[in-house]
């Protein structure tokens, strides 16, 4: 065997290991391995080595401080306008939010209240940490700086595909305008580095931010959920077969309860076959 043959053999072994052979190449390689015990043994050794590398040298999580610094490179929370991208519908804050925000944070008024294309970054602490606390902080910040929307639309058929393309969660969106909770938009919230959809509904002068998380999301407590108060905001959480929902609102507990009830009812019927 010449050096060149040895080289070729080794390159093919590695390419086979890495799934880089095409279909015909793989077929031929498998046949050769059946007839060539040495080749098969070499392949097994290489596989063991590769697996050991993956096991002992996993991808490492970036330190939280670094992630925070990277997030801070863009989108300070009180940033004013951002030009919409092709998929983002331009949206100006509505009067009802303006007056509220003016009252809450007059010093921000000079910045104007056009809604930025915001991506809020939240990091649930690993382990026993609770994602709700972070969602509340997010909500409180948004109350001052203006609830950011990545997509501002009251049409769930616009919001849903937009969010679906940008998050790993295929969320539920229910039209609750008849119940007095019109949809105003959606945004992507990063929870523990996973982009998740947050829907924003309005109720009179109040807002509900509903974040939809995978059932196994870190920091999401199990159980049936329920209502609690964190930093003066009411938080409701519940789960269905697919997702865990965390709703944060400045509404009173009763109104939030009605929202949850309406959403759950609507969500259940939304999973049924579409009505004509």
């Amino acid at each position: 065997m010449t050096d060149r043959d040895v080289d070729e053999r080794l390159l093919r072994l590695n390419a086979a290991l890495d799934g880089e052979l095409d279909a015909m190449g793989s077929l031929e390689f498998e046949r050769e391995m059946r007839d060539d015990a040495a080749l098969a043994a070499e392949y097994r050794r290489l596989t063991t080595l590769r697996d050991a590398v993956r096991r002992h040298v996993p991808r490492e999580a970036a330190p939280q401080a670094l992630a925070d610094r990277i997030a801070a490179l863009t989108a300070p929370p009180a940033q004013a306008t951002a030009a919409p991208t092709a998929t983002v519908i331009p949206f100006r804050r509505r009067a009802w939010l303006d007056s509220r925000a003016l009252a809450m944070a007059a010093s921000f008024a000079v910045l104007g209240f056009a809604v930025g294309v915001g991506l809020t970054s939240l990091h649930a602490p690993s382990g026993s940490g609770d994602v709700a606390q972070h969602l509340v902080s997010d909500f409180a910040r948004a109350e001052i700086a203006g609830q950011p929307f990545d997509v501002a639309s009251s049409d769930r058929h616009t919001v849903k595909p937009w969010l679906a393309n940008r998050t790993t969660v295929s969320g539920t969106i229910v039209d609750l305008a008849p119940e007095g909770f019109p949809l105003v938009g959606g945004r992507v919230t990063i929870v523990d580095r996973v982009p998740t959809p947050t829907l924003v509904y309005r109720h009179n002068e109040h807002v509900v931010a509903l974040t939809e998380l995978p059932l196994d999301a870190k920091g999401v407590r199990g159980g049936t959920g329920g209502m609690e108060t964190i930093d003066g905001y009411h938080v409701a959480r519940w789960s269905d077969a697919n997702l865990t929902y965390v709703a944060v609102s400045d509404m009173d507990e009763k109104a939030l309860g009605e929202f949850v009830e309406a959403f759950r009812r609507g969500g259940a019927s939304a999973t049924e076959p579409a009505k004509p």
Binding site: M1, D3, V6, D7, L10, L11, L13, N14, A15, D18, E20, E42, R45, L46, T48, L49, R50, A52, V53, R54, R55, H56, V57, P58, R59, E60, A61, A62, P63, A65, L66, A67, R69, I70, A71, L73, T74, A75, T81, A82, A83, T85, V117, L119, S121, R166, I190, R193, P195
Partner: protein, 177 residues
Amino acid sequence: MSSSIAEQRFREIVPPLLDDAYSLAKWLSRNPTDAEDIVQDAALRALQALSSVSVDRPKPWFLAIVRNAAMTFMARNRRKTVAYVGDMADLETLDLPQGDDAAPNPEQELIALQDGERLRQAIASLASPFLETLVMRDINGLSYREIAEATETPVGTVMSRLARARAMLARTLRSEP
């Protein structure tokens, strides 16, 4: 404002790749603190670049920036221990007498593979071109073509570097007690 579009793209592309970027930077710099500086520098470069380029494949694109930032960082900080070797001809030949030493002590290699610390040391001892290729493949999960793109190297070179990196690893693990 075009910078806002760049920022939007940045937020879509960079945060999901931070772990990959940090892992690559840490292996290339062999230093966690340097790795953070490198990734931050790379992120700034990416943000600047996004106002003028469109990106088809974010992962190799951003990891290429991380790699270049690492090389700049090393050169600036004169880390002589990790001098990057360019496209030297001797790197492109396989030069592996694997027929001879493949047999002697496979058990030794198997035992060594159970020892994560030894394996990490063996990887860290690889010269940069082999190290970066191995890390991009087995830790970042890039395809050969993506590695070629990220390292601005022909696919054939990527293949031979990867094969050689693994063979050197195996040899190191087999020989040392």
